[in-house]
Amino acid sequence: MKGLKHFSVTVRVWRQAGPKEPGKMVSYKVKDVSPDMSFLEMLDVLNDNLLKKGDTPIAFESDCREGICGCCGLVVNGDVHGPDEHSTVCQLHMRRFSDGDVITVEPWRVKSFPVIKDLVVDRSSFDRLIAAGGFISVNTGAAPDANSVPVEKDKAEEAMDAAACIGCGACVASCPNGAAMLFVGAKVSQLALLPQGTPERANRALNMVAAMDKEGFGNCTNEYECEAVCPKDVKVANIARLNREFLLANLFSKK
């Protein structure tokens, strides 16, 4: 059976010592790769080898390694989050590769996500977008009764689909224009669809779009590359909802 034997690959990876340093692609041979390894585990093995040789390990971000935290964002052989559809790069396994493969690994190359080191980028612009959406402090008390706030089942599902966004930044990295509309669309949608999010929805749309423009993200031209790569399969219908929320807020709110 293909892929059960251990094999070797060459990893061509972006090395950049610091935010202001120039970077370049560097090739490393990784031997004894198990097909059962995840892609990040293969990088761990490579880093072990580098440490043993006294080299600086490759910096990359990862946390949960189960596809729900949004930390690990890499461009593998030109595919955002690797070749698997709607998946994060931590869910990519080495069985997808063959002996002798040359694997190109790059960070998100987005103006609003500057490289900190090697494959690690600074996605704090996303945090500022979230903050622009506003927040409230409420003493929540005990868990509320189920159904005390009635929500349509379909709306709840749609809100949940939008809330599935893990903020990994793949939408921006894949966008020909570097737009963050899918991210902001998801964040606006998850609240606009629910009664709890209704009181602030107009302000939220206006403020988040203003923050998005300020952070230097591009303009969406509806190319839908973001939807194609999104690990959580967030739909571009959320971008339309963001457009709608913003335009209606601009025309009909008192702001």
Partner: protein, 227 residues
Amino acid sequence: MDITFIKRFITTSIGRKAVMAVSGLLLGGFMLVHLAENLLLFKGEIFYNGWVDFLLSNPITPFLEAGLLALFLAHIAAGTWVRVEDFLNAPRGYEARKWQGGRTIGSATMLYTAAAILAYLTYHMLTFRFVDHSMGFYQMVTGAFRSPVFVAVYVAGAAALALHLSHGMQSAFQTLGVNHPKYTPLIKLGGLLVALAMIGFALISVYYLAGIDLKSAEAGYQVVIIK
């Protein structure tokens, strides 16, 4: 007076795109009317020139023409602004980059087809609008359509327009927030049909270039449109 909301149409990304979308949809509608008018060529010289006279003698026409110019300018201004910003903000420097199937030929070439349409539009104005019309509009149009060079440019312009609209029409709806499981497939289909209709401009010009009207007149046939 608070005009923040008007400012937002010009200064925010979504506001600018809404301007581009609304003007684009109206221009698309204009192109369909324009095509319908070109089909009037088939009704013959007297009818066609009569129609043009009716248009030109109508006191509303100059205002409509000014409105049309404003639509073009708004569309071009908003589009240019969006694209300049996108050029500045685009992710850059990927050694390997694969598109994942979201892009279409139409969407990936919007900027180029826009430039081609603008170039064609300038040519169109110089050859049909700002010229001596004393020979009559029917003679002017059909005469131009008998020139292979003119028709080649005309067909290229129509092709660029079709490609532009293949993305633009449905994109405008998305930008205006219209996305619905029931209607979006219909909107996408409708957008493609409008784009396809633009080939009609090319077909009409080729009809005259090939001299089909003359040949059928010689053979005693006449194009008759049933009223």
